[in-house]
Symmetry: C2
Subunit: 300 residues, 2 copies
């Protein structure tokens, strides 16, 4: 039997729509896997376990695992246990983390857990089935840290050096945003000044992390696209942002398509102070305080 931990992630980090992803330390899926007898069986515990299909043809862990095995010429039944920590449809890359864990567990069963490229490709197959053909959550789950997805076809992923360790705050309000809505509010086209500014901000964010410069990260987190158009879908967003910024956050924005929001703080103490007022703003919500994951998915 093998056991794999795969971290959740912030997709669309700030202005980096479809491009930047960031792995979250100590918050993710843990998948145990062994060869099965006749048919593949899936057992799920943990957060939102009841929302996840156990049918192997619908479950991202087994879809990714079977995709990996197929690449290697195998077709075998699997016994799978999934222990979840990420909210379903929360914007923290839960399906990507599951896909990566499944693919890496299958790779590990074959003694190939270091085949990162193969894991990315198999996870993408599963992710495409449930959430669309994107890598901005898969990449950080596999590689850890801050990742830059240059393109999906062909797959080009680059790691950005992370030269500082801000504290990460995640708050997940207990609401659901329909994927259809989160896509439909985004304008189809942008005028030059808008996309140039978005590009400049994303480069500033990459450069800021790379140089370990908190001030540059702060300026780079300005997002005139995802946050601008999606924040109205999250009641309380503006107020929550004000709370965090007044406590010294470098920025506050939406993770993926939401509703999870994230903030970076230079000092952990300041992040802790935001907990209570955020509960006040959002009512029913989960607040997690952690850090950027230095490494990606791994065999435990």
């Amino acid at each position: 039997m093998v056991k794999v931990f795969s971290p959740g992630s912030i997709g669309n980090v700030g202005p980096g729509f479809d491009v930047l992803g960031l792995a979250v330390a100590e918050l993710g899926d843990t998948v145990s896997m062994e060869w099965g007898e006749n048919e593949t069986r899936v057992n799920i515990t943990g957060r939102d376990a009841d929302l996840i299909p156990t049918d192997p043809s619908e479950n991202t862990v087994t879809l990714a695992a079977q995709a990996y095995l197929a690449r290697e010429g195998f077709r075998r039944a699997l016994d799978v246990h999934i222990e979840r920590a990420l909210p379903s449809s929360g914007g923290l890359g839960a399906s990507a983390a599951s896909s990566v864990a499944g693919a890496m567990a299958a790779a590990a069963l074959l003694g190939k857990e270091d085949d990162h490229q193969g894991v990315v490709e198999a996870a993408l197959t599963a992710e495409t089935h449930v959430a669309g053909r994107h890598l901005d959550n898969i990449a950080p789950s596999v590689y850890g840290g801050l990742t830059l997805v240059q393109s999906v076809d062909p797959i080009r992923i680059h790691q950005v050096a992370v030269g500082c360790q801000p504290t990460l705050l995640l708050v997940t309000p207990n609401i659901k945003i329909k994927t259809k809505d989160s896509r439909s509010v985004l304008p189809e086209k942008l005028i030059q000044s808008d996309w140039v500014r978005q590009m400049a901000n994303t480069c500033t964010l990459v450069n800021g992390f790379s140089r370990g410069d908190f001030d540059m990260i702060k300026h780079g987190l300005e997002d005139g696209y995802g946050e601008r158009y999606r924040s109205p879908l999250i009641p309380g967003f503006d107020e929550a942002k004000d709370v965090c910024m007044e406590l010294g956050a470098l920025g506050f924005s939406i993770s993926g398509a939401g509703p999870t929001c994230f903030a970076f703080f230079e000092r952990r103490d300041d992040a802790e102070k935001a907990k209570e007022p955020l509960h006040h703003v959002f009512g029913d919500c989960t607040v997690f305080i952690g850090s950027i994951a230095a490494e990606g998915a791994k065999v435990l």
Copy 2:
């Protein structure tokens, strides 16, 4: 008397439209300046000297110098000599280099040549007069290396670490491109997939330079905007690009609004080999082989 050298620059480096600028070593304007008697006098020698106005109210060196002096509460006549090496309207930031040299020379006359912020602001005043309110050439001329202009209002410039030293080839065909044409060919709006790709490429370029990774720089140089729409204005562009890429260039693209084109090579020998075929492609042209300037404008 003070003497200042200010390097020319590549604006819009690859996909980094209006955002990335790169200083060119050993190719720029040299300005000598001293306090004058009754009225400001300008003398110009060097490349395209006859195309540059000597009227102090039209000359970027004196415009920038007077703007700097005015900031400091001075209004004095100047005697100025300009020795030019950059082509006028060539796409190598000649007017920005002149503006920067003028502003820094004026600063030096007041013993304030280290006031980079003031030099940038005064140079921007002059540049706005002749070429528009942009910083992507001014920033590298002042700071050297690779610069990221996050915004003009407010002025936010970040330096990108340059972790490798590619050889730089510049080729300036002897044609003029009207500013009106170079702007009008660019589409007003981009669809999401296009600007996201442009953003991903620019981030890859920043990350590639930062990490000193030639392969990443190569992938990051893909430009689906400036090059795509402006290259038809440069007869021979595609053929010249083929020549350089076959000789191992990391990329070949347009500097600023052109007609100068630039290429990066890992090996200087390969760049040298491109000289003769480029002359064959463009006919009347100038080829310069050099490197990225480690530092910006300076008092000699």
